[in-house]
């Protein structure tokens, strides 16, 4: 008589991987199927990534092959430049803004939509609209209709254009980016909330939990992985911020809205200092890497 353990062993043996030519052929097909994605990643991500890493230690102008190793000079120059400190600080402000305002608005809207059965899809489409429009279109809309001192909302109210002030320019650019982003978060959060087991929600209601308590103790723990993933993506995107700042303020006036993306761009395409641009790029990636590591660590901890 076979014990359970022996039975399991027997079963396991019976589904052991095929050996010989069939196994090799299956392996080859598997490699062949992942090859396009792998080659694409190597060509588009890995090789440029390695080159950026190397170029950060050179004085490459971005043209030709006259390259000289300069050691840590690029990093020393950047760290000594007060504009870099401003850029880094602005990226951190950007991060704080994006981790709070669009996330809170997104959660509130998703919660409200959750209870709405009719027209929910239409609302989602409307909220998602700014997200699917090209940044240049969104920026133009805001520049000409809202921030324009001659004919825009700001002008009609007799207010100064926020993009023109050193204290308001970063927030003016961040405002437009958040306006385009929160609708996306709403849709993502709503999707996650709808996955919450309905019996848990009903049990909480039967137990006398009010709306806030149901959200706090049922929905929020349920969508925690989504919140975490969106948070990490926000951290990465915040250090890569470029398009709205470039389109609306070019990092100005007087570097007041400069972020590391625009700072690196000026080195690469205005000053012919690709080495320094690569060094700034590495620093930007470093923060993204930190966020990714944090995400991995939290995810693993949750699995334990």
């Amino acid at each position: 008589m076979l014990t359970i353990a022996e039975g399991q062993r027997v079963r396991t043996d019976s589904v052991a991987p095929p050996r010989g030519s069939l196994f090799r052929r299956r392996n080859a097909i598997s490699y062949l199927l992942i090859a396009p994605a792998l080659v694409l990643s190597i060509v588009i991500v890995v090789i440029p990534g390695i080159l950026t890493l190397l170029l950060a230690f050179t004085n490459w102008s971005g043209i030709g092959l006259n390259i000289k190793l300069v050691g840590l000079q690029n990093f020393q120059d950047i760290l000594a430049d007060p504009v870099f400190a401003t850029s880094l600080m602005n990226n951190l402000k950007w991060l704080v803004l994006f981790l709070t305002i669009p996330a809170i608005i997104g959660l509130i809207t998703a919660t409200l939509l959750l209870k709405r059965k009719r027209m929910r899809t239409l609302y989602q489409v409307i909220y998602l609209m700014p997200y699917v429009l090209a940044p240049v279109v969104n920026a133009l809309i805001w520049m000409s209709i809202i921030y324009n001192p001659n004919g825009g909302v700001v002008g009609a109210l007799g207010l100064p254009a926020p993009t023109a002030s050193t204290s308001g320019s970063l927030y003016a650019a961040a405002g437009v980016d958040m306006w385009h982003f929160w609708g996306f978060l709403t849709v993502v959060y709503l999707g996650a909330m709808r996955q919450t087991p309905i019996d848990q929600v009903e049990a909480a209601i039967v137990d006398g939990a009010n709306g806030w308590k149901v959200f706090r103790h049922v929905y929020l723990p349920s969508i925690r992985p989504t919140l975490l993933l969106m948070g990490v993506m926000t951290v990465i995107f915040s250090f890569l911020a470029f398009d709205y700042v470039f389109l609306l303020t070019q990092g100005g006036p007087a570097h007041s809205s400069e972020v590391m993306g625009t700072y690196a761009y000026a080195f690469a395409f205005s000053s012919f200092e690709f080495g320094k641009a690569a060094a700034v790029g590495l620093i930007m990636s470093f923060f993204g890497l930190l966020a990714s590591c944090l995400y991995t660590w939290i995810s693993r901890r949750d699995l334990k």
Partner: protein, 452 residues
């Protein structure tokens, strides 16, 4: 998949590959025995593209039977050219931001030495010496400017009349007129750097030319004096005072661009727009015969600020530069295109419908303003005066044209001084350090020496 289907798929893949490869081949012949020449140009508006097609493309293609010129328009042309040249690709005729940028490409061997073509076509005899020299690196010619420009003052005659003012003759009159406009609830003047931060270079160049003078700037570019020289520091400080008094678009400087500024000028929101002569091309959208207000627009050189400098005194710049790609397979053809563009007849035809961009730097800019209509008339007059000023040696330098790239970019940051974020001395110390690095790399283009 059955065998028949498999064959079909293989045939389709082969056909697609053949089609794709045909697109990747060497530059195709546009016609029998004709070689195609490429020129990448900025994304000019459709009307100006039509002028370009008619005067340059059709004109050149009809003038000879060996080449067919094709022009591609793109607003990111500078970046595209930078990427293409670094990969030994790109257009045959290289359109660039000016001699300083061309010298950076030349230093990397990306541009062809045009000296033999200069000899063949006699360019040195035809082109203004300072403009010709600015395109040389170590005695070899690498670029020619397509047009010269000055930074001056556009004014609306109607607004001046409303304010009871005459066209200002002196700097004091000019400032007084701006104060009167502000008191009347208008902008003192309109301009701005929205969407293009290098616009700041115009105004810092203007003040350095008008206060320190071209000779001082020349000495700084030669490395004879530092950029922290007291007269240059004073220029930057005076530019800051000018900005802070609201004379550069007031509080809306960062939200206006040239096009909007000229529009505001036409809407009588200000008597003045301070800007480069290339803005004539934007002005023609708002001051034209169809609107019946062409004669309302006037242009004058910026009134001389420093009484020790002659009047008028110009801030010399170029709108763009033309070079030959070292990787081009049709260098002779590219030279032929450039030669075609450096001609009197080309300048005459382009300026008929596209004022502002084509003051070809010819020694004898033999264009008669009376032959022109619309804004081409004041533009041709302005350019003839500027060329006279260049011949007399009364000019300073526009940073975007004559300064090496990183130094010019650093000058775009002058708004930090204007907005009180840094001092003029600190700002110029950074410029000095950047400039020394670029000078050591041989990136400073040769500049013509002004008389004053």
């Amino acid at each position: 998949m059955n065998r028949r289907r498999m064959r079909l798929v293989v045939a389709a893949v082969c056909a697609s590959a053949a089609l794709a490869m045909s697109g990747c081949g060497a530059s195709p012949s546009a016609g029998a025995d004709r070689q195609t020449l490429q020129l990448w140009f900025w994304g000019a508006p459709p009307q100006q593209q039509q002028t370009m097609q008619k005067v340059l493309v059709d004109g050149f293609n009809n003038s000879q039977s060996k080449y067919t010129l094709e022009v591609t328009y793109n607003n990111a042309v500078d970046k595209n050219i930078q990427v293409a040249l670094s990969a030994d690709k790109g257009p045959d005729v290289v359109y660039g931001s000016g001699p300083a940028f061309a010298s950076a490409y030349a230093a990397q061997g990306k541009l062809e030495d045009m000296t033999p073509y200069a000899k063949k076509y006699g360019w040195a005899d035809r082109i203004l010496a300072p403009m010709y020299e600015s395109g040389t690196v170590n005695g070899k010619l690498y670029s020619l400017p397509n047009s010269i420009e000055d930074i001056g003052v556009f004014y609306n005659k109607k607004v001046l009349a409303k304010l009871g003012l005459a066209v200002p003759k002196t700097y004091a009159d000019f400032v007084g007129a701006m104060d009167k406009a502000a008191a009347a609830g208008m902008y003192s003047s309109v301009t701005g750097d929205q969407g293009w931060k290098p616009v700041n270079q115009n105004y810092v160049s203007l003040f350095m030319s008008q206060i320190a003078g071209g000779k001082t700037m020349y000495n700084a570019l030669q490395g004879k004096i530092p950029w922290t020289d007291p007269s240059i520091v004073k220029s930057v400080e005076d530019s800051a005072a000018f900005y802070q008094k609201g004379y550069l678009g007031g509080k809306d400087y960062a939200t206006l661009n040239f096009d909007q500024s000229v529009q505001l000028l036409s809407q009588e929101k200000s008597p003045f727009f301070i800007g480069p002569t290339l803005a004539f091309q934007f002005a023609s959208n708002y001051f034209n015969d169809a609107k019946g207000n062409t004669d309302d627009l006037g242009y004058m050189p910026f009134p001389t600020v420093n009484p020790d400098l002659p009047s008028p005194y110009f801030t010399l710049g170029t709108t763009a530069s033309l070079s030959i790609n070292a990787a081009s397979k049709n260098k002779d053809g590219a030279a032929e295109v450039i030669d075609y563009m450096m001609s009197d007849s080309f300048a005459k035809d382009m300026n008929k419908s596209w004022p502002g961009y084509w003051a070809v730097p010819l020694k004898n800019f033999d264009l008669n303003a009376d032959d022109y209509t619309g804004l081409s008339k004041p533009f041709v007059t302005a350019m003839k005066n500027t060329i006279q000023g260049v011949n007399d040696g009364n000019y300073g330098f526009f940073a975007g044209t004559f300064f090496p790239p990183a130094t010019a970019t650093a000058f775009s940051d002058v708004d930090s001084v204007w907005l009180g974020q840094t001092s003029a001395t600190q700002f110029l110390s950074t410029i000095d350090s950047t400039f020394k690095t670029e000078k050591a790399q041989g990136l400073v283009p040769p500049v013509p020496e002004p008389k004053h």
